[in-house]
């Protein structure tokens, strides 16, 4: 086969199918922002170190700056534009608003996408680097502020709004847990 350095890809973004030609060098981040006008996802470091570009790929949080768009072909992407339910904000969005989980707001879309997934990962029983006993018999460690800080460490906030970010994630996690036990809640990001 002759080499081809570009091609058409189809991505399902926030539930909607998009087919677009891309150069193979295009990252998912650049495809979202520059090609599809979805500028909610932010470019910070562009090398996987700041988390500003976090989106959900097949329900899991990833940094879109290190994800080649062509390698996401056929997959489902959820961006900050797709986490609310119509006019009703996602519980994580509402908690960031209510508790001032930001200052300038640049890192916020990444923080929120990351927090949505982090809450699901914890609910699925995933341990973290600060979990004292990782053995399954030990059960799930509670989502303490220390656990939240560790699980959210891939998202930098240069304004230093960490104190309220941790509070917002904690409140959203509590609400999610209550709503899950009450059943029939929407599941935005899919299974973790």
């Amino acid at each position: 086969m002759a080499p081809s350095t570009a091609g058409a890809i189809t991505l399902t973004i926030n539930g909607e199918k998009h087919t677009l030609p891309v150069d193979n060098r295009t990252t998912l981040l650049d495809a979202l922002r520059e090609r599809l006008g979805l500028t909610g996802t932010k470019k910070g470091c562009d090398q996987g170190q700041c988390g500003a570009c976090t989106v959900l790929l097949e329900g899991r949080r990833v940094v879109s700056c290190l994800q080649l768009a062509v390698a996401a072909e056929g997959r489902e992407v959820t961006t900050i534009e797709g986490v609310a339910d119509g006019d009703r904000l996602h519980p994580v969005q509402q908690a960031f608003l209510d508790l001032d989980g930001y200052q300038c707001g640049y890192c916020t879309p990444g923080q929120i996408c990351s927090a949505i997934a982090a809450i699901e990962e914890h609910a699925a029983g995933w341990p973290s680097a600060v979990t004292t006993d990782v053995r399954p018999e030990a059960g799930v460690a509670p989502l303490t502020p220390e656990e939240i800080r560790e699980r959210m460490s891939g998202n930098l906030c240069r304004c230093g709004a960490y104190v309220s970010i941790v509070q917002a994630v904690a409140r959203a996690a509590e609400e999610t847990a209550q709503n899950t036990s009450g059943a029939n809640e929407m599941n935005v990001a899919g299974a973790a």
């Binding site: 150069d23 940094v63 290190l66 072909e73 680097a129 053995r135 460490s153």
Partner: protein, 336 residues
């Protein structure tokens, strides 16, 4: 970034064949290291063969009670797997100590083994680097080397392997499985990384075009009391400046079995055989643990800027083994 062709492989022979047809090709796993290196110009492949859809994403208990982990299993799935957490807790801890939640969701086990050093001279194409451009020199030796090797380095390269996962895998005697056009092969992780010598650009024993398909962990009953501890320059989301993976079996105050490996001290995860020999059969005391660390670190050749690592590793070994000895004692008392 150089333009490149992209192919998604659907089976292992197909992936190997695609790669074999193009001399300047790379396999693409999670891309967390490779895509970054392509952006900075360190890597300039003409073709990427995407292996993420290969049927290598399973974790299975082997007949002898060990584990087989497919090469495309993500770091997240490896760390969260109940059998990994139950049988090899230090492996889960090591994986979770690395990178961020986002990167662990992308990164794969095979890619983790093949990740490149984060030496700042290697990642900066405007600088000489024997690993990147053989024969161009190593500025780290006289330059910025505070996080470089104290063991097994050479006058040609003092870079360290950055993996956390690999340190725990080394302590647990992991075996790497790979496939070439000739068929399947395996190599112990202990022989997977080549000595630095005069060829720092040759990093692994993998033949050209080989595809890692998975790793096997032999059964390790002594791994139940195991842990991974990592020291870094901030509390989370940073590479190690020193780390220790350890497992210990102590009965009646005597060390019956010990596994010990160090991270961020050498061009490969460093199995501390001399320390293990010193430990086994001896008392489970802080003095004995320090003496064992010294037995290993006698071979250390630190540079002016990283001599602190010798003390750091020594203290880590004592702290981790003391903790594990206490765990063994509690288990002993509970079963008495």
């Amino acid at each position: 970034m150089r333009e490149f062709d992209y192919r998604r492989a659907s089976d292992v022979p197909g992936a190997v064949a695609l790669l074999g047809a193009e001399p300047e090709a790379h396999y693409l796993g999670g891309g967390t290291n490779l895509v970054d290196l392509m952006k900075s110009g360190v890597e300039r492949p003409a073709l990427l063969v995407d292996v993420r859809e290969l049927p290598l994403d399973r974790i299975e208990v082997t007949d002898d009670g060990g584990l087989h982990v497919g090469a495309t299993v993500t770091n997240s799935d490896l760390a969260a797997h109940p059998e990994v957490r139950r049988r090899y807790p230090a492996l889960t801890q090591a994986v979770l100590a690395g990178a961020s939640g986002q990167l662990r969701n992308m990164a794969t086990v095979g890619g983790n083994l093949l990740q490149r050093t984060r030496c700042a001279y290697f990642t900066d194409v405007s600088k000489p680097c024997n690993k990147r451009v053989p024969g161009s020199g190593c500025p780290a030796i006289a330059g910025e080397h505070h996080n470089h090797a104290i063991l097994g380095a050479s006058p040609h390269c003092v870079a360290v392997h950055p993996s956390d996962m690999g340190v725990a895998l080394t302590a647990f005697d992991a075996v790497v499985h790979y496939v070439t056009a000739e068929g399947p092969h395996e190599v112990p992780l202990a022989e997977f990384y080549l000595p630095v010598g005069a060829t720092p650009h040759r990093e692994t024993a993998l033949p050209a075009g080989a595809l890692i398909t998975g790793i096997t962990l032999p059964p390790a009953p002594d791994a139940a009391a195991s842990c991974y501890r990592k020291v870094r320059e901030r509390a989370s989301y940073a590479f190690a400046i020193g780390s220790v993976a350890a497992a210990l079996d102590v009965r009646d105050g005597t060390v019956r079995a010990a596994r010990l490996a160090f991270g961020a001290v050498a061009s490969r995860p460093w199995r501390a055989h001399a320390a293990e020999r010193a430990l086994i059969g001896g008392p489970a005391t802080a003095e004995a643990f320090a003496a064992a660390a010294d037995a290993e670190l006698a071979a250390a050749e630190p540079l002016p800027g990283n001599a602190y690592k010798v003390t750091l590793i020594r203290n880590l070994v004592v702290a981790v083994l003391t903790e594990l000895a206490a765990e063994c004692r509690r288990t002993e008392e509970a079963t008495r």
